[in-house]
């Protein structure tokens, strides 16, 4: 852990407590450019809090986060957040703006406009019809909305993409498709991606590196392959066991 000094994103002894509840405790690690990191753990294990410390939706009580070698707390929050793509658990499309306006928000906050061609390109990246730009979010299905959410996160040309349980509210088929699409975008656009999920199968299928959290601490930091071959300790293995057990039972029914 933490053996590669020139990391793109670094947590240094990061901690966050709310009154007397510890959400994140003494997390130190580095993430290199191009990694697809999944943060996995039970509810309340601190994975969302850790993610939000990166773009300052949560301010840590101890330690620090370095992005490209710079403390994220150094400057004002707004410009920092515009440099970081963020996909929300609740999708968070603004109901009073059209799909196109939602996508164009990050450039607009910088005082720039998003060319129509670029908006169309972003919609195509998430496999939506560019004609959808003029629709209102309420007219879309849940899956379509989260695709727009991903397109909006990519509009700022950021190289860091944070996703907080991005597919949690979607049906399994949409979820699988969108997950695959995001993984391919990650590669095509050369992104560094952090995804919070409570679904170990999703983490194993999409990520290049899986961080398992328990009670505010990182208890395993492994590749999917290592986890599947039994590494990472009890908490991690208990989580890996869930999809494995499901697969066995399905095979049993089929057999």
């Amino acid at each position: 852990m933490g053996s590669a000094p020139p990391a793109f994103l670094r947590f240094e002894a990061l901690g966050k407590t709310y009154d007397d509840v510890t959400a994140v405790s003494d997390v130190s690690l580095g993430i290199a450019q191009g990694e697809f990191v999944a943060l996995v753990g039970a509810s309340g294990s601190g994975k969302s809090t850790l993610l939000k410390c990166i773009n300052r939706l949560v301010e840590p009580t101890s330690g620090r986060v370095l992005l490209d070698g710079e403390d994220v707390l150094a400057g004002p929050a707004a410009p920092l957040r515009r440099r970081i793509g963020y996909v929300f658990q609740g999708i968070g499309l603004f109901p009073h703006m059209s799909v196109g306006e939602n996508i164009a928000l990050t450039p607009r906050l910088e005082g720039q406009s998003l060319p129509d061609a670029r908006a169309a390109e972003l919609l195509e990246l998430v496999e939506l019809d560019p004609a959808m730009a003029s629709r209102m979010p309420a007219e879309l299905s849940g899956g379509q909305r989260q695709r727009v959410g991903v397109a909006r996160a990519l509009a700022g040309d950021s190289h860091l993409l944070l996703m907080d349980e991005p597919f949690g509210a979607l049906d399994p088929i949409t979820r699988g498709q969108l997950g695959e699409r995001v993984r391919r975008l990650h590669e095509e656009l050369g992104l560094t991606t952090l995804m919070v999920t409570h679904d170990m199968a999703e983490a194993l299928l999409l990520a290049t590196r899986v961080l398992v959290m328990d009670a505010g601490q990182i208890v395993a930091d492994e590749t999917p392959e290592a986890l599947l071959s039994g590494a990472g300790g009890d908490v991690a293995q208990a989580l890996v066991e869930v999809p494995r057990e499901q697969a066995r039972r399905l095979a049993g029914i089929g057999g």
Partner: protein, 513 residues
């Protein structure tokens, strides 16, 4: 043409001023409430204090709130100088704006507090600054609720603004107060219809804007706003005096009872005939009138010596009619600079009235005659009469011990007398019903009842206007109590009611003007 329609068509200027007053008050309410709501949404303690204050204001009756701004502005003159108006538009505007504050503030604070947390997190997460979040997310999402608050505030304000009449601001309350006092229900209805109609129109237009915000249809928002602004602009344009006259207007005040309306109109007619531009501030609170004329907020008022003696000079003695008058003239000159022009000739005093039959049966001409027979008689009075110093004074001066003492509401007192339930009643000596019922007001040889000579007072601003003083001279000493009673009765009676204007002109005819 129906009388109601006539009365409605006469309300143009009142409607226009009502619209402008309400628009200005709601605009000020918005200007204060919205920034306050944004601040409150960032700070819970500000929210508590602001909402608490606005709720507290709302518990003050609108009438009292309007009245309170008179002393507040009077005190503020210490800071802003003597030119600060204490009556009319300014206090009405401030009081109504305060009243409009609560619904706007409450809706805005509630709307901002109840915005979807996920959207707020999304706004922050995308990197919006506080101002961008307010402009791009919070304001548009809260807009329908804020608009609903503005709509409620407008309807309340239009209703409450009718009370502005009592502090000298022309409004749709003018016909309501005039009608209530003279029991002219057509006028009351006209005022109510006009203000209710205005409230409905405002409600419909702002409803359109609200729906436009809620359904995200800018065309509706623009249509509602444009129509509302056009109405306000129309009201403003209609009030511009196109004749371009520059001469100052004489403002005549009247308290809220028939005699005051009639005399104001009579004085106004005389001045208009002499070429003065005249405006009326009618239905003013009794306590407001003297302050208004003393501070030149109005220029002419009719008051009563006994009232000023007690309320302004704060005296309790009774030096007699002449001495009281002389003392008041001197006091006004020294203390307020107002000019007591003179006496009109009649008194509107407290008196004791009996029917012709009772007077003959017991041989009554003076209150002194009552003393011997009082134990066999019943006296009736309005609820406050038996507590008033006037009653205690006259009772003790003549040793009156009535067999029975009964209380009636003023309206029923005269019925009680004519039906024989009461033998003697307290009465206002210029009351029209005295003439109508052919009653006898017993004379007061011991001058136990203080005199209430009707006097004309001219504001300090106009006191040195010789033309005005000259024009009003013929009225002085010319109005006897019988003429005044008849004029009052013509306005008060149930059938064939006259408007105060007509009664005033009739009064002038009687005295040869």
């Amino acid at each position: 043409m129906s009388p109601l329609l006539d009365a409605l068509l006469d309300l143009g200027p009142q409607l226009a001023e009502h619209v402008l007053l309400c628009a200005a008050a709601v605009a000020l309410g918005i200007a204060v409430a919205l920034p306050l709501a944004v601040w409150a949404s960032r700070s819970p303690s500000v929210a508590r204090v602001a909402l608490g204050f606005a709720s507290l204001v709302q518990t003050i009756p609108a009438l009292a709130l309007l009245a309170l701004f008179f002393p507040i502005l009077l005190a503020a003159r210490g800071v802003f100088g003597e030119d600060l108006p204490t009556l009319g538009f300014l206090p009405a505007w401030l009081a109504l704006a305060l009243y409009a504050l609560l619904p706007i503030l409450r809706n805005a604070v509630t709307a901002l507090a109840n915005l979807d947390d996920e959207l707020i997190e999304a706004a922050d997460g995308l990197g919006m600054t506080g101002w961008q979040k307010l402009r791009l997310v919070e304001a548009p999402l809260a807009a329908p609720y804020v608009m609903a608050g503005i709509r409620t505030a407008s309807v309340w304000t239009i209703g409450a603004a009718t009370l502005a009449t009592t502090i000298g601001q022309r409004s749709l309350g003018d016909p309501i107060f005039a009608g209530l006092q003279t029991q002219n229900w057509v006028l009351v209805l006209a005022g109510c219809f006009a203000s209710a109609g205005l409230a409905l129109v405002a409600d419909a237009l702002f409803g359109l804007v609200e729906r436009g915000f809620a359904k995200r249809r800018p065309a509706l928002v623009i249509a509602g706003a444009v129509l509302a602004l056009a109405g306000i602009a129309g009201a403003a344009v209609s009030l511009i005096d196109w004749r371009g006259e520059t001469r100052e207007t004489v403002v005549i005040g009247a308290k809220s009872f028939s005699e005051q309306y009639i005399l104001a109109r009579a004085i106004g007619s005389v001045l208009e005939d002499a070429g003065f531009a005249v405006e009326y501030r009618e239905g003013l609170g009794s306590a407001v009138v003297h302050n208004a004329v003393a501070s030149s907020a109005i220029d002419i008022s009719v008051d009563y010596t006994g009232t000023l003696w007690t309320n302004q000079l704060e005296r309790t003695d009774n030096p007699g009619r002449e001495a009281m008058y002389e003392e008041i003239v001197r006091w006004e000159e020294e203390n307020t600079g107002a000019l007591v022009l003179g006496r009109l000739g009649f008194e509107n005093a407290y008196g004791l009235a009996v029917t012709q039959e009772t007077a003959q049966q017991y041989g009554l001409a003076t209150i002194a005659d009552l003393a011997g027979v009082a134990p066999q008689l019943t006296i009736g009075g309005d609820p406050e009469w038996f507590e008033r110093p006037e009653w205690i004074g006259v009772r003790d001066a003549y040793g009156l011990r009535f067999g029975e003492q009964r209380t009636y509401s003023p309206t029923f007192m005269y019925n009680a007398l004519t039906s024989g339930e009461a033998d003697v009643i307290s009465a206002y000596t210029s009351d029209g019903r005295i003439a109508a019922e052919n009653l006898i007001v017993l004379s007061d040889p011991r001058e136990a009842l203080p005199s209430y000579d009707a006097i004309v007072i001219v504001s300090p601003r106009m006191a040195s206007d010789e033309a005005l003083v000259e024009t009003l001279q013929p009225l002085l000493g010319a109005v006897d109590v019988d003429t005044m009673r008849q004029a009052n009765y013509a306005v008060d009676r149930d059938e064939d009611k006259w408007l105060p204007q007509r009664a005033g002109e009739w009064l002038l005819e009687q005295i040869g003007l």
